[in-house]
Amino acid sequence: MTDLEAFRADIRAWLDANCPPEMRRPIEDEDDICWGGRAFAFKSEAQKIWLERCVAHGYTVPDWPKAYGGAGMDPAQAKIWREEMARIGARPPLSSFGIWMLGPALLKFGTEEQKVHYLNQIARGEIRWCQGYSEPGSGSDLVSLQTFGEDKGDHWIVNGQKIWTSYADKADWIFCLVRTDKANKYQGISFLLFDMTTPGVSTRPIKLISGASPFCETFFDNVVVPKAQIVGELNRGWDVAKYLLGHEREMISGAGGSERLNAIGAVVQRNGGIDNPVLRAELAQFDVDALAFAAMGEKFLDEIKVGKAHPAQPNMMKYSGTELNKQRHELLMAAGGSTALEWESAETRGGTPARSWLRTKANSIEGGTSEVMLNVIAKRILDLPGA
């Protein structure tokens, strides 16, 4: 047996013994997801036990170093971890912006002290983070952001407004883009971290077309942020912000192994059948695209972990993955017929098909729109002129 085979056997045995049966069922609702954080209420005992067991072994962030709360897995081992999790349909023990976005940015740009402190908190699910990037006047053109941090010696006083801040009302801390030099567009932004309970921070939920209110307007009124809470250098926050966006886009693409990668024809067939040859043909075309994209996801992760992928490749992954996911839900609605229209019924678990369908429309907007992804691919990968 090779080392990797032995490793796989160990992981398989550990998962068999430690992943509760309830945690091997597909995620159906938002509250099936374990987000962690100070105020997080576990939905079940199984959800709590699963998190605790994974935390004890560093399995919430398997490829982070052990010193920061991870399991120190190398790329080949981390791939085995993903495959074995997928094999039993195990839910991620913990999902969070800390894991997907801030963590990778801290690993690259954080000081040793910041890494030890914040990364361990993220790995254990103690602090829930939100992302303060977008502003009312600065969406795709993010670099035009106006939220301002005034230098007060050992701290900044932050004033301004963010918008579309996902889970701002549930988060404990925020990673936030703040202008610290009005004269410099790109090199006048700093990447700050602060507690959402700091005086002067307030949030107002925004209701989505799906009926949910997962995001907020976030206001900063003379918020004091100590100087130690900057990631990277003063006025060089744009570098951190862009690096983090790469990881955000990778996550939204679904490359890491989510439902988005699955074919759906067989599922539709099981849940009511396919009675129309045109629908069958569309499902078949979709399944070709979905299975091909699943291979792309695997290839992308293999390559990015060893530095073989183009650094701008997450943009391509996000573009393709989100467009595919929107199409997936269009097809599921078409296949579901009038049942899928029900908004509140027990049969649809409170309108899950319709609400999910509407939610997916955000996939090609959040984290950078599809049009912006295409701009970035054209410029950074294809090297087209003047893009």
Partner: protein, 379 residues
């Protein structure tokens, strides 16, 4: 196994890329053969060079004198053949033919494989009957006669058929035309009496035969695999040919795309490079994404085939369907973005469009394979 080349594969890719880009390029090969009214369909000297580099034996086992490598390696060669539109018997001979013969008797292997490895023989698959790929249905009759068989019927779209040293023929030895079983595979030598070729030039300048079999007699030794049980070997040869053509398609798509982005960076209109127009940038970026995904599907299917995975069959069809669609988009966008010159024979982009059309049809087009994905998925 990670979805990228290991060291040996990367080295092979380096060598093959340089070799085919030089010797197999469009001008010295495709255009020269086409404009010289070539009737053979490939350049024997180049085929010999393939052999000297060991490429002809990639899928032939070491015991049979080859390299005993896999579909990933064969795909490396095919991708470059695709990128350079090189007319070559590699796919029909070293991929489909060699895979089928790999399951033949020692005697048959001894008769044909040394010539394949040496770059002296060519093999052709005689499978389709009619204009569309329908391997589920085989009508060509193979009746027992003496210690052998007598073949009667016709085959179409037999690439390299007229120049092949042997045809790999699927014949019906039992059951009715659409039965899955009851198929037998034969290696029929070119000089067997009763074979008629009507060789036709296709849109991409390759040459295919309509082959008629008029009571063609072959001895029992010509059977590949089991009598009535040819489907098993045929399926292996088909899988090899399908993933091979998918790999070649990604090369065609990549070649067309490279030409197109280069043009976007040189052609000026309205005082700007046309690559500055966002309408074209977005289409180019979308196309890039589709081609990347197609390549991922192809290497995944190759690895699954090489590993003997039960999921290989499904993934081969995913790869052929995806590569066909992505490459088709690449050649259509390619011609459009070249404007008027894209319609001229002088520019190569049109040659890519022609090759795509022919390759997409080979061993099942995108619709055939999407349908197969649905069937294999249980709907």
């Amino acid at each position: 196994m990670p979805l990228y080349f290991n060291e040996d594969q990367a080295m092979l890719a380096d060598t093959v890329t340089g070799f085919i880009a030089g010797e197999g390029a469009i001008k010295p090969q495709l255009r020269r053969l086409r404009d010289g009214n070539d009737t053979r369909g490939y350049d024997p000297a180049l085929w010999k060079q393939f052999a000297e580099m060991g490429l002809t034996g990639i899928l032939v086992s070491e015991a049979d004198g080859g390299l005993g490598l896999g579909h990933v390696e064969a795909g490396i060669v095919l991708r470059e053949i695709g990128r350079n539109l090189t007319p070559s018997p590699f796919l029909s001979t070293a991929v489909v033919g060699a895979t089928a013969l790999g399951h033949a008797s020692e005697d048959l292997k001894g008769r044909y494989l040394p010539g394949v490895v040496a770059g002296e023989s060519v093999l052709a698959l005689a499978l389709d009957e009619g204009a569309k790929h329908r391997p589920e249905r085989i009508a060509l009759k193979a009746e027992r006669a003496g210690n052998g068989f007598r073949l009667s019927g016709r085959k179409d779209f037999v690439i390299h058929g007229a120049t092949a040293d042997a045809l790999i023929v699927a014949g019906r030895t039992a059951g009715s035309d659409s039965d899955a079983e009851g198929i037998t595979l034969f290696a029929v030598p070119k000089d067997a009496a009763g074979i008629g070729h009507n060789a036709v030039r296709l849109v991409d300048s390759s040459i295919a035969s309509h082959v008629t079999f008029d009571r063609v007699e072959v001895d029992g030794g010509a059977v590949i695999g089991e009598v009535d049980g040819g489907r098993a070997v045929l399926d292996k040869a088909l899988a090899a040919g399908r993933i091979g053509s998918a790999a070649e398609l990604t090369g065609v798509g990549g070649g067309a795309f490279a030409m197109t982005t280069a043009y976007l960076k040189t052609r000026k209109q309205f005082g700007k490079l046309i690559g500055e127009f966002q309408a074209l940038q977005h289409r180019a970026a979308h196309l890039y994404s589709e081609l990347e995904i197609a390549e991922a599907a192809v290497i995944k299917a190759q690895q699954l085939l090489d590993a003997g995975s039960s999921r290989a069959d499904l993934m081969v069809s995913v790869a052929k369907a995806k590569a066909s669609r992505a490459t088709n988009l690449a050649v259509r966008e390619g011609v459009q973005m070249h404007g008027g010159v894209g319609m001229t024979d002088e520019f190569d982009i049109g040659l890519y469009m022609k090759r795509d059309r022919a390759l997409a049809e080979f061993l099942g087009d995108a619709n055939y394979h999407a349908d197969r994905v649905a069937t294999l998925s249980g709907y």
